[in-house]
Symmetry: C2
Subunit: 199 residues, 2 copies
């Protein structure tokens, strides 16, 4: 792909496989690595290997962790009756950043997408259901993405949870804070109206 020394080409070829990194960006990054100090490059390489070596899935919530159970599952101060279901580890990070959620999580490691060959067996649904049974969980918050796959996953899980008599909620979909009604698409606006609340 790149007209340069083989080692640079090889690095660019590795980088272009990362999500959101195009050919040009990969080349630019590879050339930047060449300009890095020896220590910086080694630190980067070790950090990559370390992630693979040290992390695994938490046996309880299926989130990325270095210890098992993960710090969130091991934290006794968190509300064990509240369980938030998300698609990816990144979603847990995003929700934790709000500082608003004091329950625990379950990470599905994906969303239903028949076209991509992702059915319930490919997701951490079995683990999720066995967590619900005989537990003290009173509410499940479905926080899958508000897109086709996420909605389908939420619907599927809802049908599984309902018979257990556990309350199921879905995160609100509406106008993002700081944005403009003008720019919102009609589906989002419709959802915002539908989900309006008394003030």
């Amino acid at each position: 792909m790149m007209l340069g020394p083989p080692s640079l080409t090889r690095l660019a070829e590795c980088l272009v496989r990362l999500p959101g990194i195009g050919k040009k960006t990969a080349e630019r990054l590879a050339l930047y690595v060449f300009k890095m100090s020896e220590e910086e490059a080694t630190a980067l390489a070790e950090a990559v290997v370390d992630v693979k070596r040290r992390t695994r899935l938490c046996s309880v919530c299926c989130n990325v962790t270095e210890e098992d159970p993960c710090p969130i599952c091991a934290d006794d101060t968190r509300d064990a009756s509240l369980l938030c279901v998300v698609e990816q580890p990144g979603d847990v990070i995003a929700l934790e950043r709000t500082g608003q959620f004091k329950g625990r999580y379950h990470v599905l490691q994906g969303a239903l997408s028949p076209l991509d060959g992702v059915g319930p067996e490919q997701l951490r649904v079995t683990e999720f259901m066995s967590r619900l049974k005989g537990s003290e969980i009173a509410e499940v918050v479905l926080a899958t993405n508000p897109n086709v796959e996420g909605e389908a996953t939420a619907l599927y899980l809802m049908k599984l949870i309902k018979p257990l008599g556990i309350m199921v909620t879905r995160i609100a979909r509406g106008i993002p804070v700081g944005s403009d009604l003008d720019f919102a698409d009609e589906v989002t606006l419709a959802r915002a109206l539908e989900g309006r609340q008394k003030v």
Copy 2:
């Protein structure tokens, strides 16, 4: 920065130092590395280290290379009377991709930028001047970027080369192919007019 396992945070912190990689992208990439196979991650880490280990600057043209002199400098079929001066190794790659240039290169490894503390001593100007003296070079093409730093660098080099009686040219600045006159800024348009050619 990131609320996750320490090894993930460490990788994200390494990645955020790369150009064009923001906090969110760094997190996303770190989580992607977690999802990579062991082999992919090792290949990436080794590619990073390899670039530092195998590459150096060509002693002739100051481009990135694994062999010294670099393949372009060592290629006897290339026109030794034509020398193209660029700022960065990436510029050589871009020019080589055109397949139009059959001369040799000199990579300055930067452009004059007094505000950033980059003077002629920080660039490969000494190497450049000693290449010119007593050589068969008949034309120097100044292919530094068409921005303030690049133009200043071109001007500076022109003044150095002129006394040697070598022809100096500057790459054409004008309307990019495929774009629209409407969208071009006035400076570019003025340059396009100025550099018009008989057809």
